[in-house]
Subunit: 214 residues, 2 copies
């Protein structure tokens, strides 16, 4: 069995590329038809294969959603981890929100899958979710650099930012009706937190969350 390892790698690479090509086709399709409009027939057709062949690479439709989620979460992590070219922590924080908002508005379907969980029976696997956790850690870091560490302030931040982005994506896609309020909202939030004396209250109990927290 000469070159067994290389052969295995080769096959693995081919398999991966076919795998990726199907996910490419899936994203291409949902960006046109919406997340709920994904069917295996259409997906296979766009990928240049037939529906049963999809099952060679994925066990189920949810496995496809999971792979889509994984790619989106990786994109999210990578985008948010790119350096911010500011010195001022406040500028960095505001820029991160603008970047987050841009990421979401760029692809409503991706936003829907990552942050809204509207697919009935689907929950992402821990592996697919992992990159999102890393991205969340970055957000907490940027808050901490602005002196925000209390759990209740982090929760307020989450609500404020997701509220802005959700209104933007849902009610003015392609516009800037809410994104242009980002800087003012960040100022409001920081002014409030800095004027509030740190409490000694116990930290917020952890609760199960749906979607990626920001």
């Amino acid at each position: 069995m000469i070159n067994s390892i290389e052969t295995t790698d080769w096959r693995e690479a081919r398999r991966r590329s076919a795998h990726d090509a199907i996910i490419d086709a899936a994203w291409s399709l949902v960006s046109e038809e919406g997340l709920a409009g994904l069917t295996l027939r259409d997906l296979a057709h766009r990928a240049g294969i037939t529906a049963p062949t999809v099952y060679v690479y994925f066990d189920s439709k949810n496995a496809i959603y999971d792979a889509m989620f994984g790619r989106a979460a990786t994109e999210f992590d990578e985008r948010m981890a790119e350096p911010f070219h500011y010195e001022d922590p406040r500028e960095v924080l505001a820029a991160s929100v603008r970047r987050f908002s841009e990421f979401c508005t760029n692809s409503p379907a991706r936003y829907q899958l990552l942050f809204q969980r509207t697919i009935p029976g689907f929950e992402p696997s821990p592996e697919s979710y992992a990159p999102a956790v890393r991205a969340l850690a970055g957000a907490r870091e940027r808050l901490a650099l602005n002196g925000i560490t209390e759990a209740r302030h982090v929760d307020m931040w989450t609500a404020l930012i997701t509220g802005l982005v959700d209104q933007q994506v849902s009610n003015d896609p392609g516009g800037d009706r809410w994104t242009r309020l980002i800087d003012e909202s960040v100022d409001m939030f920081l002014a409030h937190c800095q004027s509030t004396p740190p409490s000694r209250k116990p930290a917020s109990r952890p609760t199960r969350t749906r979607g990626i927290q920001t």
Copy 2:
């Protein structure tokens, strides 16, 4: 044709009650199975009839969603229009948010239908939507009583409040992780608006919105 008017009214009343009974069953069902889990067969079974009979009262499944939306919007309007027993406009505003949050957390399915628009082909008719418009006017009034009239501040308010409620409903149903932040958030918002000099910028252009604005 003696008593023709009474007879017509009688039939109309019977028809309406059957109509309402089906919507009762529909809400009962979606509160258990989720909004997407509504099927005509299940609905008919719960209402004690068969699926074809549903079509005597509704033209299509979306017509059922529309009637459900209409009832929910009326409930929303009536609840928010109840008097607030406070003098201070700030207290009234905060109470309205608590009431709004309570209304949403009381029935996640209702929240989903009214404010999230997750049903693929469904958009509410103007008639069903009308009560929601009235409720929105009340919200604007309560903001105006606090000196908030600028369009950008109203948009910030919308984002802030829907963000809090959405996080609560989505990530801590039954708890108070975000609702307990309402008063602090209202304070933050009012302090910000009152410290901001009124601008002379043109009002935000109207854009098509999805879901009910608050």
